[in-house]
Amino acid sequence: MHEMSLAESVLQIIEDTAHAQQFTHVRTVVLEIGALSAVEPEAMRFCFDAVTRGSMAEGAKLEIIEIPGTGWCMECGKSVTLNERYGLCPHCGDARVEITGGNELRVKDLEVE
């Protein structure tokens, strides 16, 4: 979807953090991306490289932790795996599955110098 805007948000978070934490170069950026967040990790890598060119994060390694989609099926009364948003319960086929994990879209940590 809008990976370019999100990559710009990553750079902004880096710049804000650099201001607060007094660093000048970023070696590694660790992102958490949930399977249900509608963000393609490969598109994010592409955009991250483009956006960070000429910045303190140019050439930084981008580590993406992919978090699987999970939900709570109200019919089965148990936790289930979800491969898509608003997907059906893989056990009973019911649509009433509350998403419990996989929405993440977050800068987890940075390795800086």
Binding site: S5, S9, R85
Partner: protein
């Protein structure tokens, strides 16, 4: 460049003037507090990527990518609430009839509500000009390469509008059923427009948007006799992704169903604003 939709944000125009986005963003978020990993977990293992661990450190950030937008959206929402305004974010694919719907809605609301409109498109002032021809204020945001409006752009547009107490603000988002779903603008709710010249399975193909909306307007219903569009299937699909979604069938061109929409606005301008 976004590989999916061409999204970028460096060429935003608000009312024809270049937006001060990249300057503003650093200034507004420069004072957020952080914890270093060393303070939280002194026994953290040495970074494996660094050939020179003495000069590197890990910083725990834990910040959501949409946090900046959400902060700006909260500021817009506070303004709407202080003025008892109802702000609606209209979203749809291109060509669903949003602007015609707005023009007809403004005509129906004249004398009942003060109305202002923020128009979002990649390029041209066409939509704002169509709205201004009805006699109400409209400001055009051109997102350039961007595929959606964000809360910062809307906040800058709000500064250029006169917004009296109890007025109604329509925000016509960029025609796109994907990206605008994720960006809160501070609105009371999203209203998704689906036209009957599209497929009944749009809610299943683009579930995020139909999930994010409180109301679905099924537009162009005057064309149903000429199409093989299954209204009950479209409604069932919308309810499948969002069981609580409200649905109004109408035609902005013929006027059928417009009363129900205007009544919905009147009802919600009391409860949502």
């Amino acid at each position: 460049m976004c590989t999916t939709c061409g999204c970028g944000s460096k060429e935003v125009l608000i009312g024809g003037k270049v937006a001060a986005k990249r300057i503003a963003r650093v200034a507004k978020l420069g004072n957020v507090a952080y914890r270093t990993l060393a303070a939280v977990a002194p026994a953290a293992p040495a970074p494996v990527h660094s050939p020179d661990p003495a000069n590197t450190r890990r910083i725990q950030v834990e910040r959501d990518l949409l946090a900046k937008n959400d902060t700006l959206a909260a500021s817009n929402r506070a303004l709407f609430q202080a003025r008892h305004m109802l702000a609606l974010n209209l979203v749809s694919s291109p060509g669903s009839g949003k602007t015609t719907l707005l023009v007809r809605s403004i005509e129906a609301l004249k004398g009942k509500h003060a109305v202002a409109v923020i128009e979002g498109d990649q390029q041209t002032e066409n939509d704002a000009e169509r709205i201004r021809a009805t006699g109400v204020q409209a400001i055009q945001i051109n997102t350039g390469k961007g595929c959606h409006l964000d809360a910062g752009m809307v906040g800058q547009a709000l500064d250029k509008l006169e917004l009296p107490e109890n007025s109604l603000l329509f925000i016509e988002n960029v025609g796109n059923l994907v990206c605008p779903a994720s960006f809160d603008l501070g609105e009371a709710c999203k209203v998704v427009v689906l036209s009957v010249t599209e497929g009944e399975d749009k809610p299943l193909k683009y579930p995020d948007m139909f999930r994010a909306a409180r109301l679905m307007l099924l537009n162009k219903c005057d064309l149903l006799p000429y199409l093989n569009f299954d209204v009950s299937l479209a409604i069932a699909n919308a309810k499948r992704v969002n069981p609580g979604i409200e649905i109004i069938q109408l035609s902005a061109s013929s006027g059928v169903g417009m009363n129900e929409w205007v009544e919905w606005i009147a009802r919600n301008s009391v409860t949502l604003s």
